[in-house]
Symmetry: C2
Subunit: 106 residues, 2 copies
DNA sequence: TTGACATGTGACCTTCTGGTCACATAACTT
DNA sequence: AAGTTATGTGACCAGAAGGTCACATGTCAA
């Protein structure tokens, strides 16, 4: 399994994406902290965090017996750059902005 | 299964990412055309293309008995925007550029 | 209209994945 | 030292996903 595969497989699960959302909102959180936000046992959450860490989407730092988790946005940017080149980027962002504008009208 | 889930699940498979790579390089290709690039039966490729289409990553147009496939970059951009805000975007692109520079040095 | 070509469908099997649990290690507190 | 707190490991099971095949539909060309 190569690096790409690890990143995409990691993102494929909704619980893991929710963990990234939590870390995007506030960094440096511990396992016990994150665990309280999911309807799942501690073991499940730890397993998900391990997958995210091995994919490089989350980086960690130990502080005593606690392990702090941080979001790393670099792999996300690389996904973007794989299928959106500089020429289409402006075009796409325009489309996305338009999409948001239309959604707000309803 | 919601839209997000469909997109990320679709991206989780290497064969499907390769199909997106092929379409990124050249759009408007047919199933038979794409099939010849994968080491898999026609049925497998058709199944993957269906997953990509249901996720909105690929849009299609029929032309007679052929079905033409096109890459849609919008969902990719939305992934980017989910975890990279305007403040960190510049920071991240700098990191990515640095990463590329370091890789070229070796 | 007959045959060849391009694609679609549903069943089937094997492998991978998500989640839980019993058990284990390591660090802080008193 | 002893108990509590925070996290790590390996086994296990149910459900999902990747791939193939027999069969079916629709379109072009002569």
């Amino acid at each position: 399994m190569d690096d790409d595969d690890r990143v995409f497989k990691a993102l494929a699960d909704p619980s893991r994406r929710f963990l990234l959302d939590l870390l995007f909102e506030r960094d440096g959180r511990t396992l016990g902290d994150l665990e309280s936000e999911l309807e799942m046992t501690r073991f499940g959450v730890a397993k998900h965090l391990k997958v995210l860490e091995e994919a490089g989407l989350v980086v960690t730092r130990r502080s005593g017996r606690e392990k702090l988790h941080f979001l790393n946005p670099v792999p996300i940017r690389l996904i973007h750059d794989r299928w959106i080149d500089k020429y289409t980027e402006h075009h796409v962002t325009t489309l996305v902005d338009l999409k948001h504008a239309l959604e707000e009208e309803t």
